[in-house]
Amino acid sequence: MRRMTRKEHLLRQALLVVVGLFVVVPIWGIAYMAFDSSFFGRPSEFRVLPGEFSLDLFGRVFERAAQSLPFADLLRNSLNVSLGATAFSVALGASMAYAFARMRFPGRRVGLFALLAGSLMPPIALIIPLYLLLASLGIRTTQLGLMIVYAAIAMPFCVWNMRVAFQSVPRELEEAAFIDGASFSIAFVRVTLPLALPAIGLAAFVAFLGAYSEFALGWMFVDRADNVTLAMGLWNAISLAGNDWNFMAAYALMMSVPVVVVFVLLQRYLVNGLLAGKVEL
């Protein structure tokens, strides 16, 4: 390939700067407020930097984020619920996805069809059926209940994605293991699973994100303040409290920064899974 000229390099960088602005501007439009204690309510004048730099707002969120609970409690609830839902979907779905990817059995086509139909349901369709299910188990208002709700949203897609991930691991690798006398379970654990791991990681990350940011269904199930998640608290801060913009900004920042950091750190690994497994998001 021919080398880039200086002009071409500059042109490319200029295009990237434009896209970079597109990415950063809305984030900045919120983020600067989190450090600004010079106004209350809605900002009424244009600023790029905080008018009065302070970290007080983060302190406020830290001490009393929502429902008079400290941030740490909400974060713990969020992590419990989201990690639980993710683990539930991946663990229970993986073997099924593998069977759909590799085995032949009667009803396979119908099963795939049903799997697809399940993943097309809008989340709101789950309210009443899961309400019944969870109430009959006596866990409707608990974090375990919420975890199951979020798993229900995440699972069909998770299984679907993992199936595709397993399918794209070359069959020959498994067949080599079979020749050496391996069973399906050994081939799965030793060959397919490790190769599909980045793709599964990506599917899991998506499942996690979905649960971490869900609030609408959450509010329909949880009615005890100490089970509220971060996303639910933020929705409250926005919709009920209404006008405390810099508080909301600090909250939003504190909620999303950890996820972004984790993702950027794992990026290289997860992206490997993207086409290796053709995971879809």
């Binding site: 501007v25 809305p26 779905g93 993943s119 009443i128 699972m155 933020l234 939003a252 999303s256 879809e280």
Partner: protein, 718 residues
């Protein structure tokens, strides 16, 4: 002879059915806006004719903004009835009149239905499927069963195109067909100007044909050939103008002045108060197209409009390849409807015929041909070596399937089933307690077993008190599922489609573009840029939406503060959609960028070397090598993004407006769903019907898309 008989018989049957459907509607439709105007126009003319004064045609054209031909036709229809008291002269915006002579109304309406039946008959001779689609189209039924100016120009515009096609096919009597086409166009113009779009489609098609024939010739010869090809078109246009003038006697005394008046009126009207106060979004015609007429329900025997529109979407590609002139008609018509400010529902009749033709193509592509292929596959002998899966296979797979199957049955299967049952009841806030303690099962299963008759619950009367507003759940039958599938919520249906197409297309374009810009050896900071661009994807989407809503708020958002003034352009349906689209693209492009980056890495470098040796350069490489190799790898990701976009609702919550079907499903279960629902709340049953519709629509869409792309992607969807 027999070869011609069958199509004629089929056309006759379709036309009779079309006429019957309209007669049924004529009996049941109340008098609508404008009917009094056109009936008065007809009355003035018929009174003059009855008094032996044909000169009335030169003097009288009530509502002169529309040319008189259809009004004259109505006049002839009411002529035998004899004189009636004069219909009052009222504003165009006046509410529907209650005192029109009933026999005049029905005579005029029946004459309109006759034109509509003739239209379906003519179309059916060449394209029976399309004719059926026109015959049952509920907007077509409505406006060709009322005293409106749609039926005659609909008929003549179809004749114009059909005759043009007969001419283009060649043969001995081809010139007769061209004359007929021109006459039909002239009559169209003399009935309602709008319908001349069909003539423009003919011009576009003929022009491109002429240019196409000249391709490859040296330019002088090409010019001459194009001229020869276009000469008949000139004659056609001139004849059409002449016929228009002859058929519009009102123009004779003062052609230029009266013509100018009638045309200028429309542009003034479209920016006037009456149109403004309706405040439809620019895409409103598409909303009309995404459902059946939602008022006067009992007047229509069938509501297949949404299905027809969806089939038409599926048939667009084939329409362009096989029936170019209809494709132009559709394109020009929809383009006009989109930009023209006046958005009355009757305007969509402009594209009824090309939509119907497209739907016919869609039906062949989606249903008829795959079924035929499946049948052929069934009857062919099974290939050797392929054995059906056995019970032993199942036995071996069971332990692998069981845990996931149990979880999915409980978490997805049960909800889906329960939605189906719920949608057959009237479950709402009042009956919630009964519903969740077994009422839904009781009502639905009793109803299905025939033990309980359907209650009077109706989606069209949600705002009114009704017998279903009790603490007990009732069975409602399949009616509300049917109504939702017929497109009662056409605004949200259209918004979901538009939103999915818009956000996915733009995310795909930006994501692929960025990946291409980054994909260059020696580019500095590529890793840093990539890490930055991925951030929006990791931010919870609701937060991203809040950030964009704050940035783009018309008054007091960051952008308007920066400019120091409110931004009214960001208000309203279009401005809100812009802000939402930016937010959607912002969240959606990173994953496409990552996927495209990975896909670009898979292209072996020697492909480029080979192409470079063949003399390919930048743009050519991109178009013929890179994109065709990358795109198939993106397709699965894009399909899944489209599903997510179609079901999107968190994103719309911080904005004022914009509602997908999924937002609707959420809204419906709120205690106060909002305007249009009166005091009814927690409409779980309706929400369930919407959910079923979403699942069905997406299932069909995903299957159709994956069938088309399966070969390329190597991933099977089902």
């Amino acid at each position: 002879m027999r070869k011609r008989l069958l199509p004629a018989v089929i056309a006759g049957i379709i036309a009779i059915a079309a006429f019957g459907i309209r007669l049924y509607a004529i009996d049941r439709l109340p008098v609508d806006y404008d009917e009094d105007d056109y009936l008065r126009a007809a009355q003035l003319i018929s009174d003059g004719l009855r008094a032996g004064d044909p000169g009335i045609l030169l003097r009288s054209n009530y509502r002169p903004e529309h040319p008189p031909l259809q009004k004259i036709a109505f006049a002839l229809a009411v002529l035998p009835l004899g004189p009636r008291p004069e219909i009052a002269d009222a504003e165009t915006s006046a509410p529907p009149s209650r005192s029109l002579p009933a026999d005049m109304v029905s005579a005029a309406r029946v004459s309109a239905a006759v034109f509509a039946a003739a239209q379906t008959a003519a179309l059916a001779l060449l394209n029976p499927l399309a004719a059926v689609a026109v015959a049952v189209n509920s907007y077509h039924v409505k406006y060709t069963s009322q005293v409106m100016l749609e039926s005659l120009p609909s008929l003549t515009s179809v004749l114009c195109v059909l005759a043009y096609l007969a001419w283009a096919r060649g043969g001995k009597r081809r010139w007769m067909w061209l004359v007929l086409s021109a006459v039909a166009l002239g009559l169209t113009a003399a009935s309602k100007y709008l319908y001349c779009i069909a003539g423009l489609a003919v011009v576009a098609d003929a022009f491109l044909r002429a240019v196409g024939q000249a391709r490859g010739l040296p330019w002088r010869a090409a010019l001459r050939a194009t001229g020869r090809g276009l000469a008949p078109l000139m004659g056609w246009g001139a004849l059409a103008l002449l016929v228009f003038f002859v058929a519009d006697p009102y123009l004779w005394p003062n052609p230029a002045g009266r013509l100018a008046d009638s045309i200028v009126y429309h542009s003034a009207y479209s920016s006037g108060a009456e149109v403004q106060s309706a405040s439809f979004p620019p895409w409103q015609p598409f909303v009309w197209l995404s459902g059946s007429v939602a008022w006067e329900r009992s007047a229509y025997l069938l509501s297949l409009d949404l299905a027809i529109t969806l089939l038409a979407l599926a048939g667009l590609g084939r329409l362009w390849r096989r029936q170019r002139v209809y494709a132009w008609w559709l394109l020009l018509g929809l383009g006009f409807l989109l930009v023209w400010n006046t958005k009355w529902p009757q305007y969509i009749l402009l594209v009824s015929v090309p939509m119907a033709v497209a739907a016919g193509e869609g039906l062949r592509a989606v249903l008829l041909e795959p079924l035929a292929a499946r049948w052929a596959e069934r009857t062919a002998p099974r290939r050797a070596g392929e054995q059906p899966a056995t019970r032993r296979d199942l036995w071996r797979a069971t332990p692998w399937l069981l845990p996931g199957a149990i979880a999915l049955t409980a978490l997805a299967g049960f909800p889906l089933l329960y939605q189906g049952l719920m949608a057959m009841t009237d479950l709402n806030t009042l009956s919630l307690r009964d519903g969740i303690t077994g009422g839904v099962f009781r009502a639905a299963l009793n109803g299905l077993a025939g033990l309980e008759a359907p209650s009077g619950f109706s989606l069209y009367r949600l705002g009114e008190p009704g017998e279903w507003r009790t603490t007990v759940v009732h069975y409602t039958g399949l009616r509300q599922i049917g109504d939702v599938f017929a497109g009662v919520f056409s605004a949200q249906t259209w918004f979901s489609l538009m939103w999915a197409a818009l956000s996915v297309t733009l995310s795909a374009t930006l994501g692929t573009g960025v990946a291409l810009v980054l994909n260059r050896r020696g580019l500095r900071f590529a890793g840093v840029w990539r890490a930055l661009f991925v951030i929006p994807w990791a931010i919870p989407e609701f937060l991203g939406a809040v950030a964009w809503a704050q940035l783009m708020d018309p008054d007091g958002g960051w952008l308007s503060l920066a400019l120091g003034a409110p931004l009214p352009a960001l208000d309203g349906a279009l401005g809100t959609l812009l802000a939402q689209t930016l937010a959607g693209v912002w969240m959606g492009f990173p994953i496409v960028m990552l996927t495209a980056t990975a896909a670009l890495k898979l292209i072996p470098i020697d492909v480029y070397d080979g192409a470079a040796m063949d003399g390919a350069t930048g743009a050519g490489l991109l178009r013929h090598i890179t994109l065709p190799l990358v795109f198939p790898l993106l397709v699965p990701a894009l399909i899944v993004r489209a599903v997510f976009a179609f079901n999107q609702f968190y994103l719309f919550m911080p904005f004022r407006g914009g509602s997908t079907l999924a937002s609707l499903a959420y809204q419906l279960v709120q205690p106060r769903p909002g305007p249009g629902f009166g005091r009814a709340g927690g409409l779980y049953a309706v929400s369930a019907a919407v959910d079923l519709f979403i699942v069905a629509a997406l299932l069909i869409g995903v299957l159709a898309l994956s069938r088309r792309t399966r070969a390329a992607e190597g991933v099977t969807y089902a």
